[in-house]
């Protein structure tokens, strides 16, 4: 039984991670033109770091010790890092942010890339949701045995 819940927990951690990716992609898109951040630098594109996490806690330890089932591995967001690729440059001498040559540094965000990222995250979110639905149906069917 515990492995049914561990499957749901793993899928839920997947939902969490994909939502984080979507939020970061949204923030990147929103700031695709923010040439002037709080540190007087253009906005730097952010990226989510994911890591597979083996479950811990009493249930997982018990399952491992008894060798009776399978504990599903979840995923976790370890960090949100800034993309260190170089800023873009745009010729705009009238801007107050322009350097002596008349160029303005622009964020290293590429809009199409963010859109693709967001779409990927949305699809992966749906897949995790479908997995939760299947496991939930399985639990319901197991309970129906007692009817």
């Amino acid at each position: 039984m515990s492995s049914m819940w561990s499957a749901i927990n793993a899928s839920a951690s997947g939902l969490d991670a994909q939502r984080a990716r979507m939020e970061v992609a949204a923030s990147n898109l929103a700031n695709a033109d923010s040439v002037h951040g709080p540190n007087n630098q253009p906005y730097r594109r952010r990226e989510v770091m994911l890591e597979s996490s083996d479950p811990d806690g009493f249930g997982a330890t018990l399952t491992r010790a008894s060798g009776s089932g399978v504990e599903a591995a979840g995923v976790k967001v370890t960090d949100v890092v800034e993309d260190q690729s170089p800023f873009g440059r745009r010729y705009e001498p009238s801007s107050p942010d322009a350097d002596s040559d008349g160029y303005v540094a622009t964020p290293n965000v590429s809009v199409p890339e963010e859109m693709v990222d967001m779409l990927g995250a949305a699809r992966a979110y749906q897949a995790n949701l479908a997995a939760i639905g299947v496991v939930k149906d399985t639990i319901q069917k197991a309970l129906d045995l007692a009817k």
Binding site: M4, A17, L50, V70, A72, A73, T138
Partner: protein, 131 residues
């Protein structure tokens, strides 16, 4: 004499089929959760050991595969799947493959559950004197 498979053994076997289906669902769910984790490799759960020991028991004189024998209670083994194409980030999870595995496991579970609940219905019928 001709039939050594009794009711209890059948029910135990059905229970094991359900347990295995859940294990397969678990592994597929965890693969799906890690579909974007760099370096993650697709995992599969196998019960080959159980089958092998069953076949050995069958060939070494026992009469047929007894679904109730305790040697079938082998622990499931989780291994990394070989032969899947890796993406650039070292991840080789395939969405369609995992969804298919999930659906297949769910179908196996439903089948075992349907038979088991039919068995329970029969028992209840007998207990209630056919009413």
């Amino acid at each position: 004499m001709s039939n050594t498979i009794n009711d209890t053994a059948i029910m135990a076997a059905l229970g094991r089929q359900m347990t295995r289906a859940v294990a397969r669902e678990s592994v597929a769910s965890s693969n799906l959760a890690n579909i974007d984790t760099p370096g993650y490799h697709t995992r599969d759960v196998s019960f080959d050991d159980a089958l092998t020991s069953q076949l050995q028991a069958a060939t070494s004189g026992a009469s047929g595969i007894a679904p109730g024998s305790s040697s079938a209670q082998e622990a499931p083994k989780v291994t990394e799947t070989e032969g899947l194409a890796e993406r650039r980030d070292g991840n080789n999870v395939q969405l369609d493959r995992e969804l298919l595995n999930l659906t297949r496991a769910s179908g196996d579970f439903s089948a075992a559950q349907a038979v088991l609940s039919a068995k329970f219905r029969l028992v209840r019928y007998a207990i209630n004197d056919g009413r």
